[in-house]
């Protein structure tokens, strides 16, 4: 490894003067030819050997270092006539507009100049941005008459991309340069050009720097043909035209021809800098492909900044499809064997692990716990082959590094894009498994926002002991059960974990002891002593709880009765856990579900993350065992309601429809009472929406009468496992009003939504009310309105993700250097204080009680249970 040669103390951003460019140049480039007949680079050509070498076998003629060590050296082209740099065309235009055409002074009077000077000095001193002030100056400094020499000013326009037009006359770059030269240093500062690092006329090119060959390497195709970089192609064009222009000028060719060639030179230099500049046809390759020139190398998502500097491709990483595995711990990740054999962990060979490592090498690169490379102390990397492994083992000594395969127990970083919060990258323990997908526990789906409809995830293998230690203590999955977003669990049971726990723990759920022991075995929980009696599910679940746990809360299934009967609740929704025994209440989403698990939350906060992981692992496995014991399935049969209910719903909807008609009638007769602050039309719409909304809710209530707790779809909805009662009633009873832009549907044909309706018709059906249920099926008109509403939903989510993504990017860029110091101050990278106390209260939200320092109500309730015994 090479050490640091020099330390950067300061960076200046400025312009290069022609002298700077010449000083930096190692050779003038004159000829457009690159290689001679023998294939050797031509002197003073674009491949001049003095520009640096790439071939590691050659020595650089300029700096003497070998290829690979030589970073290359710039050359230069003397342009026959000056040209405008596209990147500065706007700056040139604005500068000319704000300076005198005759004397070159800023179009401000002496007083204004003095004022702005003082302001700029002050802002420099305070390290403030002067951008806005400069912008202001450009708008103020526009006068018809020069305040210094009284010269009348003419209007100057810019014709994109690089033509500067005064009145009707197009200024040549030489004329522009002359004008810019006249601007005195003091005035140039006011125009935003700091004379210490730049001069306005340097925006016009007289010398063009030629980047070294390392920047534009040529590639040799299999056919032996040489293919040049796009930049080299462009530089050849520039040299050709430059030469012709020079010859024509020297031969005294007519003005018109010289001007045409000059324009052409300008075109080539413009596209050399930016081949996507507006108003210029892009320069193309022979094949018709537009050339990738300087700006294209840097710009955009695939440009140097976003693709090579802000983010890079890395080694020791893997990506594949994910699939679920309920038998893994939340801390684990299943890694396919083929990946485990490819990505490796470097291990230092010592006397103590010599034998183990020899076994890996003996296995070689193809058998699983094997090894791929050995690195000797002299940094030579040797690949292990089937044939060489014995000699490698012989030579193995302490001090060597062996890159061994990934094996069970290794710590890796696991990630799913978009990485929007810190739980998007967590450290997992490896479990090498057959097949080709990454496997993960279902409880970690919420933080990654993952599902298994084809999602892929990335894995990174740590390469140092320090990174492993840090990841293990800070990034492990169990350390992220509580989210800093709301101070509650984000990792927890989902779907069948919830339904299963409900089936186990609800009232009347009784098992024989053998069944209980089967389920406990499945959940890998140690078996208790035999009692010889039947068990309740509540007793079973209590085995997983810490012995001194005390919690009280209302379960997800709680119907929010007017007067809570607490322990006597007929829904069994008042959960009481006394000394680790589930006394009453059912276990559902509120117990250990992601986003809302109270018991889980309590265990993390009171007993630590190890205990919480243990609880979550065994509780979910037990719930799965329970759901398999009971059997659980759903179909549209769950949303079946009797004919009698159907008829009641029909009647209800008919009534609602006639109420809507009556409202419309009243509106037409001007009898409607407008709501405060609303027009008649708005009032009508609001009232109709209200009537139809009520109708849908009522129809749902009728359907719900037939939805008992034996219905699996209902169990999922009320326990919070999946779906909602609204989903069920929409399937069974009535879909309800479709909306576009927050109101009833009114777009489409003139004054009506579809040609099937009268013009101006305002009735329920004509404006997108869907009477049918999903199970009955929608009629064609309803189907169309439903598609309109559905499309709006899709478009909205697409737009929202794009917008919030950009917002996130800007926020992250603005905040990336802030950190919380040990004294709890928040500072930026210069040590400047942003907050004297983090979050003003110094609380880590991930360790808080749902955002608060303490939740007094909860603590009081718990003490009450303890003392009531």
């Amino acid at each position: 490894m090479k050490g640091i040669l020099k330390k950067i103390s300061q960076i200046n951003f400025g312009l290069m003067s022609p002298e700077d460019i010449r000083k930096m140049s190692v050779t003038k480039i004159v000829t457009p030819d690159t290689y001679d007949e023998d294939g050797y680079p031509i002197e003073a050509g674009l491949m001049d050997p003095r520009l640096g070498v790439i071939d590691p076998g050659l020595k650089c003629r300029t700096c003497g270092s070998k290829g690979g060590d030589c970073q290359g050296h710039f050359g230069s082209i003397n342009l026959a006539r000056p040209v405008i740099h596209v990147g500065f065309a706007d700056t040139i235009h604005k500068t000319l507009r704000s300076t005198c055409r005759s004397c070159g002074r800023v179009l401000l009077d002496n007083n204004e100049i003095k004022n702005y000077h003082e302001k700029i000095e002050k802002m420099f001193k305070n390290e403030e941005s002067v951008n806005n002030l400069i912008k202001e100056i450009y708008t103020v400094a526009r006068k018809d008459k020069c305040p210094h020499c009284e010269e009348e000013q003419e209007d100057i326009k810019i014709d994109k991309p690089v033509s500067i037009v005064e009145g009707n006359y197009k200024l040549t770059p030489s004329e522009v340069r002359e004008r810019l030269e006249k601007i005195p240093d003091e005035d140039s500062l006011i125009l935003g050009v700091n004379p210490k690092v730049a001069r306005p006329e340097w925006t016009i090119l007289t010398v063009l720097p030629v980047p070294p060959v390392t920047v534009r390497p040529s590639i040799t195709l299999e056919t032996g043909e040489r293919s040049e970089d796009d930049l080299t192609h462009k530089l050849v064009d520039i040299l050709r035209i430059n030469q012709r222009l020079k010859e024509n000028m020297e031969a005294g060719a007519p003005q018109l021809i010289v001007e045409d060639l000059w324009e052409l030179l300008q075109y080539h230099v413009t596209t050399y800098f930016d081949n996507e500049a507006s108003g210029v046809p892009p320069a193309r390759h022979r094949s018709g492909r537009p050339l990738k020139t300087l700006a294209q190398r840097l710009k955009g998502k695939e440009g140097r900044f976003r693709s090579n500097l802000s983010g890079k491709r890395v080694n020791f990483s893997a990506r594949t499809v994910i699939s679920p595995d309920p038998n893994l711990s939340i801390n684990e990740v299943g890694v396919p064997e083929i990946i485990a054999k490819e990505v490796t962990v470097p291990v230092y060979v010592t006397e103590w692990n010599m034998e183990e490592i020899k076994k890996y090498i003996q296995n070689g690169p193809k058998v699983h716990p094997g090894a791929n490379y050995v690195i000797r102390p002299d940094e030579r990397k040797i690949r292990i082959y089937e044939e060489t492994k014995d000699t490698v083992i012989e030579k193995l000594e302490p001090g060597f590094i062996v890159e061994r395969h990934l094996k069970d127990g290794d710590i890796v970083l696991f990630n799913r894009q978009p990485s929007l919060h810190r739980m998007s990258m967590m450290a997992h323990e490896v479990k090498v498994l057959p097949y080709k997908t990454f496997r993960l526990n279902l409880c970690v789906c919420p933080p990654y926002n993952a599902d298994f409809d084809g999602d892929e995830m990335n894995m990174h293998v740590f390469q140092t002991e320090e990174s492993r230690a840090e990841a293990k203590s800070l990034m492990r999955v169990q350390e992220h059960i509580l989210s800093p977003r709301f101070g509650g669990p984000i990792i927890g049971g989902i779907h069948d974990h919830i339904s299963g726990a409900y089936l186990l723990t609800r009232e009347g759920s009784i098992f024989r002891e053998e069944e209980i022991f089967q389920m406990l075995k499945h959940a890998k929980v140690p078996l208790p002593k035999k009692t010889g009696k039947n068990w309740t599910g509540k007793q079973l679940f209590s085995l997983l709880l810490p012995d001194d746990l005390n919690v009280v809360y209302r379960a997800e299934i709680c119907r929010k009765c007017d007067e809570c009967l607490k322990k006597e609740c007929k829904n069994d929704s008042y959960v009481v856990i006394e000394d680790g025994v589930l006394k009453s209440g059912v276990i559902d989403d509120k117990a250990y579900g992601a986003f809302s698990g109270k018991i889980l939350d309590h265990i993390v906060k009171e007993y630590g993350t190890d205990r919480a992981r243990e609880f979550l692992d065994s509780a979910t496995k037990l719930a799965i065992a329970g759901i398999m014991k009971k059997g659980f399935t759903t179909s549209t049969n769950d949303e079946e309601i009797p004919q009698e209910a159907r008829e009641r719903i029909e009647e209800l909807l008919d009534k609602a429809e006639s109420r809507v008609e009556r409202l419309i009638e009243a509106y037409k007769n001007d009898e409607l009472e407008p709501l405060p602050g609303r027009s008649m039309e708005e009032t009508l719409e609001m009232k109709i929406m209200q009537v139809l909304g009520e109708a849908r809710d009522k129809s749902g209530e009728i359907a719900e009468i037939y939805f008992g707790m034996e219905n699996h779809a209902v169990i999922m909805a009320v326990t919070g496992a999946r779906g909602s009662m609204l989903n069920l009633t929409q399937i069974a009873a009535c879909v309800g009003q479709q909306s576009v832009r927050g109101g009833r549907i009114k777009r489409g044909y003139s004054e009506r939504t579809l040609p099937h309706f009268q013009k101006g018709e305002l009735g329920a059906r004509a404006r997108g009310f869907v009477h049918s249920s999903y199970k009955q099926g929608l009629d064609p008109l309803e189907f169309f309105f439903h598609a309109m509403g559905g499309r709006e939903g899709l478009v909205d989510t697409a737009i929202r993700t794009a917008q919030s993504g950009y917002m996130q990017r800007r926020l992250v860029n603005a905040l990336q250097d802030l950190s919380v110091n040990p004294d709890r101050t928040v500072r930026d990278n210069r040590g400047i204080i942003i907050q004297t106390m983090y979050g003003e209260d110094g609380v880590d939200p991930a360790k808080s009680d749902y955002g608060k320092v303490v939740d007094l109500d909860r603590i009081i309730e718990e003490i009450r249970i303890k003392s009531s015994k």
Binding site: N126, I834, T836, M837, E840
Partner: protein, 77 residues
Amino acid sequence: MKKDILKHELVPDHVILSKSDVQKVIKELNIHLEQLPKIKPDDPVVKEIEAKPGDVLKIMRKSPTAGKFVTYRLVLE
């Protein structure tokens, strides 16, 4: 019709610190004067309480997380 901006409920209390109090704050936070958050000299409150460049203001405001919060700002030139 000029209102007293200092009495507006959205304007927190600003107090100019004495030289010795500034030293105390600097010592407490273990920083240089320049590392304090800044406030512009043309800030309406700065003009109202006639703070001078180089003064340090103690700002006491309501906080949704901490109830009450105290911070400091250095008046720029």
